[in-house]
Amino acid sequence: MTTPDTMVQHYHEVVDCQYACPAHTPVPEYIRLIAEGRYTDSYMLNWESNVFPGVLGRVCDRPCEPACRRGRLQEEPVAICRLKRVASDFKDDIQSRLPKIPEEKNGKRIALIGAGPASLTVARDLMPLGYEITVIDEQQKGGGMIRSQIPSFRLPDTVIDEEVGYILDMGVDTRFGEEVTSLKSILDEKFDAVFIGTGAPRGRNLEIPGRYDAEDHIHIGVEWLANVSFKHTNSIGEKVVILGGGNTAMDCCRTARRLGGKEVTVTVRSPFAEMKASPWEIEDAQHEGIPVLDNHVPVQFHCEDGKLNAIEFQLVRAEYDAKGKRSLIPTGEDNVIIECTDVIVAVGQENSFPWIERDIGIEFNDWDMPEVDKITYRTSHKKVFVAGDAAWGPENIITAVAQAHQAAISIDLFCNGKRLSSRPGPNWTLVSQKMGIHEWSYQNNVVDDERYAVPLIATDKALADLSVEVELGFDANLALQEAHRCFSCDAQTVFNASKCIECDACIDICPTDCLTMTHYDPSVDDVGDLRQRLTGPAANNEQPIYVSGSLPDTGRVMVKDENVCVHCGLCAERCPTAAWDMQKLLYTEAQAGDSCQK
């Protein structure tokens, strides 16, 4: 039985996009604000939750989109990520809406090592609370991997400068250009807490014959991208082979195209379908005329006098054992030799902590990574916290932001002498949307439109200049149409069993057969069995089932399979007693200050 205190969690799960987002950004609400033309409000709602809406609106890994309910009823989900960019593109000046930074500090000094998304999030959360923050990074500018690893044709520098600027301009003390070589020396500076947000900065190498015979022409992906970003590298040979199938490989190949690469080829060990890169990033690369060769395992570089001539591949096919474990079996065909002038190795990233002394109270695990608590983000040293890629290896920006919010909460609790385990709960409101007969204060009509494509600049123009952004972004009209595709899953179907007269009206009207009234006793009956006897097949076990309390007349229960509810509100519309109501859930995760300052 779904009890009232578990309902908020249930309703939160119903908002698929928001639930899938590591930072739990209130997606339907910000899309609604975009549809209303309230871009600044939409931006600020994003900013509070994910700190970098302009950046994420371009380069987020968007776990929200595969989760989007529309993707289960139509080919494509709502273009959530690109709508976020709309809020960023069309907003007004937000300076006046940024949090006020107290003149009088609280006397606590925090050091943040690394100036990437994790550290900046901690700074953003703690500065308004009166903390004195010092950010230390070896680069001359803030942003970390956002700046060094993402090419400017996907993410212009102006966007990074703006959003990093909002945080640094809060009065953060920056020690840029300083490489941290000893954590002990930082701790010796008597900070109240130290946060490590150094990411996963080291590109993985590929030790095959010939690797060191033409050093100038065999590059490590993330290092090469950083060199391009900081303008240390501005050209590459005409024939470039990229090794690897992740998003870094996609950025490398597209960058190579713009720096002089005429024949750029991506090769991956795995079958195409198992490539790690996001499908849209693979599409973008292919759109620029870059072929992807799968099942190619690199075996040898062919070099001569410090010059790279070619790279040799063995051809394989993937086979899977009973447990689904993959092995790559050579096909026995002749090895393939691809002529090339340069090779970029983009086969993964690693953490690297040579600068943390092993005797200062931080435990390291078998993978030579510091032991970090999954909830508090604290190491075994009480003053040292870690989040983002530095904590458990490469993930993505939005995950780093979400983790950093939690680390900031922990730092705040710690500096206030509170237990790190007494963490603040989420903030939420649940408000009826009923305005009158046939009238709801959310957009309840369900459009059939397929996903709108984001306009792109012409490929020849894009390839001519590294800094020209490929995507033009939605204009206001396209944004409005795309925003209308949102089902408003935050408009929850809230049921009050005591008002129900069991007239069947809701069940009869529901377009997607979500509702059932049946006998069910949770103490005896099996939920799996219940799923079998619902009006519509409830085959998606990842989606929750709502079960009401007993109905007054027959003792049956109302069951709702949330899987394909389109939130049209017709159940509430056709309910004679308002037992069903559409209520908007606005759910935000707690942030630093929620438990200590309130």
Partner: protein, 350 residues
Amino acid sequence: MTYQKPNFRHPLAPTNNLGLSRREYEGALSTLCAGCGHDSISNAIITACFENSIEPHKVAKLSGIGCSSKTPTYFLGNSHGFNTVHGRMPSVTTGANMANRDLTYIGVSGDGDSASIGLGQFAHVVRRNLNMLYIVENNGCYGLTKGQNSATTDLGSISKSGNANKFSPIDLCNLSMQLGATFVARSFSGDKDQLVPLIKAAMSHRGFAFIDVISPCVTFNNNPGSKKSYDFVREHQEATSNIDFVPMQQEITTQYDAGTTQEVTLHDGSVIHLHKPIDGFDIHNPRTAMRAMKDHQERDEILTGLLYVDTDPVDLHDVINTNSKPLNSLTKEELCPGNKTLQSINESLR
């Protein structure tokens, strides 16, 4: 901000033997009051036609006037429809049926349309045993004109304005049995487990099939003291038996306990299974049904379920020996057989 049914349907929604989804049997969005029993009946009809794999274009739905008679707009949007004159649905249906015997006829009427203004027409369509399903959506009040008592309002039932009804009601099931109906049932809009198989069986029955469906009027007759409210009917309903319907083309797969289940095979080979019938009830004997209904009525109970069925009925086409084919399929030669045939007819009469 809008009041439209979305076009999305459950992605795993089943299709029937014709390959059609339930959506093909839906109609326009209802404009009746929210929670009206009639909408549930519309849905039961949709479900029955979908599950019985009836071709939508081979159904004609006819109605009179009233809330109930609006409902054919809300189901079977791909079928033939005729919204006739108040109380005159039976005669229009009779004409249509005589012209085209190949369609399935669903007549939808209300207590006003059938028991008041249309009582005469109702009586005659029953006694002629026209092959149709006649559904009365019985809410015991004139819902379209603000809920005055109707001819089926129960004695002593309290209206929304607080007055008890002083007139004896017309029991349409009882009346139709007296008039020789060959399939009679009573059900409740809030009990689709019973209503859907009854509708399926009634559509398979060859002859006049009557279902009186108690259908609460949420707006004017769902108050305490009403004998046709959701609460009252739920508390006072007793079924003659639980019913299952297995259409002719489908294999019977469920095992039934012989002691408690009665099988009724209809004219077309379909089978009705009646589980746990009440003691002494004979489904083939109208007298036991009438007595049982009377007994229940006296105890303020409502007897629902299948009340009576004649498995070998003689319908109107049989009686008057009509052509075996619909009139629209007759050729000119069949309709005007020529002088020679006329002469032979004349000769036979001399």
